[in-house]
Amino acid sequence: MDELKEVGFDESMGRAASFLVEDDEVKRIKKKEKIEIMPIEDAHDKYGKLFFKVVDKNKDKYTRLAYEKGQTGYFIRVPSNMEIMLPIQTAFLLKSNNFKQILHNVVVLEENAKLHMISGCTSMPDLKGMHSSVTEFYLKKNSYLTYTMIHRWAKETEVYPRTGAILDENSTFVSNYIALTPAKMIDSYPVAILNKNAIARFYSILYAREKAKFDVGAIAKLNGEGAKAEIISRIISYNSNVISRGLIEGNANNSKGHMECSGLIIKNGIIHTIPELKSTVENVDLSHEAAIGKIAQEQLNYLMARGIEEEEAKSLLIRGFLDVSIKGLPPHLNKVISRVVDLKTKATA
């Protein structure tokens, strides 16, 4: 199904495991490696007391919903010392009109485990509907997780992901959020709590279009000495409204955080960046930079001087702006992102 391929769910590709949900029904679980992967409801007996430790169940309406009704979703656990080379793919598809998806996902990486995940969320064209989720990541000592989430929605979809990650000593969390899509509302503000020498990197590649509303960002709490966080976003707002938030809290000495946001405005788009830095100890190094503008005429002229027509030149610049190569992500996953960017930016300038 093209809808799924467009968010990276592709069963012809090499994957360590697959997990597919349509509306609230688990359609497929496949696995090749010795990973634990199961529907969340099956994991409740075994691991339930672990849940809602990193996302507060009373945080808002959507976390309550997930707590009370979140019977659908995945539980994934990678045993200690296991490195999974191929990515695990998961996908959530909204299939029926006016359906409200309420999900709860949990990922646990035991000590020294390593995993790449690619997670697609999408809806059939022209549907109304809601996708809300709580996703919790537990990264134990020295573990390493890359989590690439690709969203593709219909104009009338509302989306409320609630994500939390707890990073134990020396663990690394690379979170990539790719949303090149319309949407009635995407409201997402994941939180990572970093212990000693942990590293979190949040990359967002956003192309809000067709009067979309995004209110998105990331929070990193540097609670352990030597913790490091980076929050980097590339945002295009095409006749849409994007609020891009970021908060880095330095709560331990020798921690380090950097935030960077570049925005491109097209056709009456709005971008509002709200970067915040907070420090509660002396010895921290926090910084942020932001730049918002329109397509640079000089760059446009440059491409047109090669014989490329104006509209095509604009679309090339948009594509180039979003085509960032993400540190720490395996090349084949960077390629998945490139392909999505190519597909979603063709002839849209």
Partner: protein, 239 residues
């Protein structure tokens, strides 16, 4: 190929070119000398059609048509190509641009030793010399009939000037007789260095927005070197 007639050009309300004439025939190579700020780049920009340079009087005829009102990309499609003096950095893999030019990427990337650069963002972190090679790479793949080269050799080391010149000479079919050559070029050079590698038919000297003299490239260069641009204007027959 190209006729610039009495061109008056301004940018930002400032008069930069004040009645420039330049005629380049098929197969010919012209060089333009002149001090910094005299208007050399402006002339090329006006021929290419960059929108900040307004032509207030005169005409620019290319292949028999007045192109003054054509957009940049159309002029490029008609066969004008430019290698910019200071090209911008762009968030776009060079390859994605080159794919749009319908030419032999592999051959020229190899000849210009740019194979590793075409997977990188355009001009991002390129040295001065690398930018020049990247400009020549693009123009070579484009294969225009009229090459506008703005100081192609400045900041380029000897070995790379040689490499660049080789490609330019190949584009200009320097191995053929002049009557058989299809392409023409206007080359801006500050130092005249490039003349050691590329034969030019005629040199022009620009000062303060005017072409004040023209003549055989080597002679003109000699005069400038010996007496400066000022004297060159004295000896010139004008234009």
């Amino acid at each position: 190929m190209l006729k610039v007639r009495n061109a008056w050009i301004e940018a930002d309300g400032k008069k930069i070119l004040k009645g420039v004439n330049l005629e380049v025939g098929k197969g010919e190579v012209h060089v333009i000398f002149g001090p910094n700020g005299s208007g050399k780049s402006t002339l090329l920009a006006a021929i290419m059609g960059l929108p900040s340079y307004k032509i207030t009087d005169g005409e620019i005829i290319f292949k028999g048509r007045d192109i003054k009102n054509e957009p940049i990309w159309k002029r490029a499609k008609m066969g004008i190509g430019i290698a910019f003096q200071s090209p911008p950095e762009i968030n776009l893999k060079m390859n994605k641009l080159l794919e749009n030019l319908d030419g032999n990427i592999e051959k020229y990337a190899k000849e210009l030793r740019m194979e590793e650069y075409i997977d990188r963002d355009i001009n991002k972190g390129f040295s001065g010399g690398e930018r020049k090679r990247s400009e020549i790479l693009q123009i070579a793949i484009q294969q225009p009939d009229l090459l506008l080269l703005d100081e192609p050799e400045s900041g380029v080391d000897m070995e790379n000037i040689y490499i660049i010149s080789k490609v330019i000479n190949e584009l200009l079919e320097k191995n053929k007789r002049i009557v058989e050559r299809k392409r023409s070029a206007v080359i801006i050079t500050h130092t005249g260095y490039i003349l050691d590698f590329i034969d030019a038919n005629l040199a022009h000297v620009m000062m303060d927005g005017k072409i004040i003299c023209k003549g055989p490239p080597r002679d003109v260069l000699e005069t400038i070197k010996k007496y400066g641009y000022e004297k060159c204007s004295a000896c010139a027959e004008g234009d």
